[in-house]
Amino acid sequence: MTGRSPAKAGAQERASAAAAAPRTPAYAGEQLDPRTQYLMRLGDDALVLGQRLSEWCGHGPVLEVDISLANLALDLVGQATLLLNEAGDGDKLAFHRDVLDFSNCLLVEQPNGDFAQTIARHLLYTTWQHMLLERLTQSSDRFLSEFAHKAVKEIAYHRELATDWTIRLGDGTEESARRMAEGLDWCWRFVPELFEVDELLQAAIDSGVAVEPLGFEEEYRSAIAAVLAEAQLKAPADQRPILGGRRGHHSEHLGHLLAVMQFLPRTYPDATW
């Protein structure tokens, strides 16, 4: 990246990547192997969701929830640090990639909305992430296996907390139930992407590095259904799924998130703290 502005570098990467099909995220012009790209997918999920949750800091509905959400955010940023540093230079990947080079799923970049929508997003994502991490402990890749052993405990708590809140809001007042239902409705169309297996993921699965998500889709569906039943909520009607995050096709929301997150290191590249 030396000698080029990050913005310009990003534009060139996009131009060259657009010519190649299928498009794979390019970092500093390199074509990356499936393991590295898998690390970046998981790392980007954690980074973007961590950044999203950190937006609650100072705005939580009550002080205790404010601290609670900040803790969740820190767990995820810690996971992102491990994953992205294994994939390459973590800081560069986090702060000097443009939006099209992020490979997180669309669910995690969705806006916080109200507290119920944040909880809906967290329930749907961390239930999936927890099931993934449980299996990733068996990865043939030593780093990923060790990472999963550490992260699975953190995410077990995330899942439990999101479950507890979903039940309380759903089975709470008329207003809390309405908000919880609306939050789930917003997030529902982004769930199918979590179970999408594209060429790159298939390659990582075949080499024993990655987890085959279809192997736990049934378990996921029934786990979510059980939480919703206990919360006295109806599952939202199936909507047309929205895919593409893994290939860099993001919603408008991610650009705004990155603008805030990346502003300082891009404006003051030598800043230290």
């Binding site: 009550v62 205790e64 929830v65 609670s68 809140w165």
Partner: protein, 94 residues
Amino acid sequence: MSSDWPLWEVFVRSKGGLAHRHVGSVHAPDAELALAHARDTYTRRLEGVSLWVVPSAEIVASDPDQAGELFEPAQSKIYRHPTFYDIPDEVKHI
């Protein structure tokens, strides 16, 4: 707001064998979330291995107006302190 929620007193056991110690309080709608809030507020820096939460309303407190009769008589009874014994260095937690 959190003032609508009942208050819970939080006790943390810092390691096995030691007693739970009162560390503060949290607001929470019920016991399960009180534990979650206590965990997130008071054990984020490796402070504990076990948590108790107790509804603050269930704590029976002594009356501050009775502090004189309850506590002052003890001030003149220094012989109740086992300070006249030598304690070996190896003995901890006394």
